[in-house]
Symmetry: C2
Subunit: 403 residues, 2 copies
Amino acid sequence: MAGHDQKVYRSSTTAPVNIAVIKYWGKRDATLNLPTNSSLSVTLSQTDLRAHTTASCSDSYPYSEGDTLILNSTPQNIHASKRTLACLSDLRILRRALEDADPSLPRLSAFPLRIVSENNFPTAAGLASSAAGFAALVRAVADLYELPQSPSELSRIARQGSGSACRSLMGGYVAWRAGSAEDGSDSLAEQVAPASHWPEMRALILVISDAKKDVPSTEGMQSTVATSALFPSRAKSVVPERMTAMENAIRDRDFASFAEITMRDSNNFHATCLDTWPPIFYINDTSRAAIRVVHDINRAAGETICAYTFDAGPNAVIYYLEENSERVLGTFKQVLNPAMEGWAETKSAQDVTSFLEALNSRAVEMLNTGVSRVIVTSVGEGPLKVSSHLVSESGDILTGSSN
Amino acid sequence: MAGHDQKVYRSSTTAPVNIAVIKYWGKRDATLNLPTNSSLSVTLSQTDLRAHTTASCSDSYPYSEGDTLILNSTPQNIHASKRTLACLSDLRILRRALEDADPSLPRLSAFPLRIVSENNFPTAAGLASSAAGFAALVRAVADLYELPQSPSELSRIARQGSGSACRSLMGGYVAWRAGSAEDGSDSLAEQVAPASHWPEMRALILVISDAKKDVPSTEGMQSTVATSALFPSRAKSVVPERMTAMENAIRDRDFASFAEITMRDSNNFHATCLDTWPPIFYINDTSRAAIRVVHDINRAAGETICAYTFDAGPNAVIYYLEENSERVLGTFKQVLNPAMEGWAETKSAQDVTSFLEALNSRAVEMLNTGVSRVIVTSVGEGPLKVSSHLVSESGDILTGSSN
């Protein structure tokens, strides 16, 4: 036998958040995270929101501890997370196949993994970090293992960590095909269009606090599937029609259609939550006010220049095109506190008086008091390999260095 | 020709409000007020909420003015209300048939009508008064004309005034059969059970103010039918199944089933409103808090002892049985201001500490600040003929005397 290889192998990646415009809600298989319907999202820029993960492995790491994961400086009990274990197991199998085919490769699949991850999301903003987190984990380990699989093939693995994570393995406009195979082999993400196809897409995130604790999304979607009388028609007919229409809108860079489908699908998803027994409410009166203001701005503009969407929480994500930044952001900046963190780089040369006059005063007041911060971002790229590592060459954990 | 008959003919009635437990939302014919689905309601006691109407007619009334209607002391432009005209026209046709068959009858059908109506609803409480109002109008004119038609036959006429008015022509538990005939001849109300079958039913109304103006229900339901992707399954399958289950629950006096169907149907209706384009919101955060508290009370009780339902506005109607008055009312009385108008006759000997401890504190705070008054009432009878008239023997208008 050869002597011990003491080297620490490392690979680091950053991965983006994605915000769905056709929502994922409902699993047909809870273990494999197979959805009841396809979904489609916009990958957001990592300049603003990202998970940063270093995957490392070494024969020098203590085998007694097995694989370890440190998330935002806090060690995680990886063995209690079936989802993380499922991802790592599948990645190891792919690595082992490479090693079996080429005995000259180091036997990384046998070494313990040390994974360190951080995200730069505002604390307590209620922004879903699991998609970016699992995408970064899968991408970093796949890079560490030098796996040849495509992002789409890796998305099948990331999906098991968190359903929507599969869409964060690619940039731009990404569909998650529900698939029909029982083993989930055809349930994976596909890039509908790269960010460069329609780079003008912008997103304004309104962080809205809600004292009520949300129903966790896994629990919520299981409950909707089991009890909502309206859900079957969403899964069977509403979403399939919208997927086609949304892909056409993206292909044609047709913002009005993109926007209407986005808003209607968000409303449709939250309607099935309300129809769940007992009912689930993710949007609150401040969210309602954001909906109202978006409709008012579009009415005042005489065209559809912005669109809201809400995930499993009250935060609003408002999509718009760069060419309408001044009208959309300018109006929201006046409605909210212009000195609020997040507006820094926003231009607002254009006079938005006519828009402000078109707004419902009660909705303006609700937004003004209910929005705690904003994030202005845009469509962006998929995971990026980075040279900034969260594990040193000797295997030490380095945190706080990335953000 | 005989000399002029100067007599003023009068008949007065009071009519109740009804609150649906299977909601009416959607018209298949807007002129005839034919619904897309059947509905079912509980008629509420006239002790608390009622419309009081006197129908009078006389050959001495000025023909130049035609029929006149005074509502809450305000003259109405009856000729601008197609709905009122349709009701009066149908009632006249029935009277004329009687007169044609018996020439000895006074020719009331030819005389101008003078109708005076008042209701005792709290001002600005947002309680739908049109159902009680049209039921009282149709019942009073039918009595004036001494029509032999049954309440169910008259419901066909009242339906043209306001869809839900047809259900206020009977007491107790009332179904409105959607029917399928194009002329609406089979779209009428039927009593499922009289109040005496299940007299223990109580209703607590929480009056919740909302600064936002609601979308009028006629406009809202047309919009839902035209745009909601989920609405067809509500109308075609959800409601028909629930009608049967609800009638069984009432027949068996099965409160748990009655309550669950009531709550699920309210949620289902509001879900289709949220799925409407643009979305319609009738319930707000205070309504949500009432929903939360009802679920919490039921959980603390270990059984279903109360049920919420919401019409096209934020007010909550909470059904419960007399035997649970102390637990349900006692808890709400502590949550809300016990000195608030409306609680007066409520007993609260039972200790409700365990219920109060089970409540979400944020929901309690929302209710405490968002509910402006309460009305404690119960299942009740249909329209009652009364001797208190709002028109004098000589045809003068007498108002303010009834409440």
